[in-house]
Assembly symmetry: C2
Homo-oligomer: 268 residues x 2
Amino acid sequence: MFEKYRVPLDKKLDLSDYDPADKPFSGDSKGDDKDRMAELALKLDELQTILHANSQRRVLLVLQGMDTAGKDSTIRAVFQNVDPLGIRVANFKAPTPAELARDFLWRVHRVVPAAGELVIFNRSHYEDVLITRVHDWIDAEECKRRYTHINNFERLLTDSNTRIIKCFLHISFDEQRKRLQERVDDPNKHWKFEITDLKERSFWPQYAKAYAAALSATSTEYAPWYIVPSDSKRHRNLMVAELLVQAMTDLKLSYPPGRPDLVGLKVE
Amino acid sequence: MFEKYRVPLDKKLDLSDYDPADKPFSGDSKGDDKDRMAELALKLDELQTILHANSQRRVLLVLQGMDTAGKDSTIRAVFQNVDPLGIRVANFKAPTPAELARDFLWRVHRVVPAAGELVIFNRSHYEDVLITRVHDWIDAEECKRRYTHINNFERLLTDSNTRIIKCFLHISFDEQRKRLQERVDDPNKHWKFEITDLKERSFWPQYAKAYAAALSATSTEYAPWYIVPSDSKRHRNLMVAELLVQAMTDLKLSYPPGRPDLVGLKVE
């Protein structure tokens, strides 16, 4: 269904081939989309409950995107009906000294999903081939080594019963401008705004290049990247939800079988 | 409002003085209660957002109760509208060897709320004066020492800007029987059921005694215990939500002031 948004492995990728204003859900009315979103949110709740009951498989959703692409609001919308007990969000900020003192995957490995868990990475190990590369904190060779480490790491997780879904929330330069301006114009949103956001914005072309290289080098068969058009929040949320529901449905999970030893048992 | 459910400090407590079937929300119709719950859930979302924006105070909700008292479903109901990014649930299971190799508060301290965070303890450090005491893994003297350590620890958290709300979800022996029987009778719920649940149930009077002693010894002015009648799920959820909304409203938080340096700024 989302084949055209799936990043092919090792093919030179140009983000400008993907329109951030795309609306994958055709001309449906807003009302229909809202119904579909509600339906998906409920479905996800059900799938998560079975994942937890079954307690074998693990699910990892990776969200990446430029500033204001909407990682936080996607999480809010997609998981609106999922039991707070059933998901865990791992936020990756600037690394601490303890984290910098180890390899870049150390802090990531500590928070991967356990059996029966659904975990969302809000930013991820990909920051270590993006912001680091844009600012030349690592060179091209180190970056390439890291792609390999990432692929190996994600293979390890996959081999250990983890289903990985990776979404790049793709917005346009102009959409980012609008969203930053909104934050500036609303004093109640100033706490979300850093002057450094503007500085990072000035590196937009470098980020686009770093993203293209990273997505292409790490979109594997077992952990593919999807480019999610995100200028429309509605379409963005729907697509992430659809991708996740599809991936979790593919696991074909069911409740563990009833236990014969409990049949007819009377609790006193 | 809930004064009668608040545990007085150091007064001998008898749980049988509290009726688990109590309905604090009087004769309201189910419809009214449902509306109120929806209202509280939305209010809580708003309060959490401000708590996060403000990023100074911390909030800790402690949930304790016998098996099937409904800790999990309370979390689900009360936090139905709160942004998954805005809360963190810490589940306390049987301690690991690494945890047993330290003092009993070590694993708890690691997961206390950070500035701006709302954290729910699903079970808590209180397990270490309950199951441990019921099975005589610790003696009365050690238990008393632990009460003191707990009070000191909660004082430390309070002094560090943390608001602590502690709820004991109080169900009757017969209500537990019904709920366990439901799990037995539904093969899809077998995964939630352990034969050891029945064994623990046989220690009911000892648990009631251990709870009474612990609640009374640790219901301080800065971190009081509330006994939440929980035979009715509806009343239980409402009361926990009301307590939390009240406590968070008392913090009188507001958005941080707008920043003068952002006034009139145009994003290019």
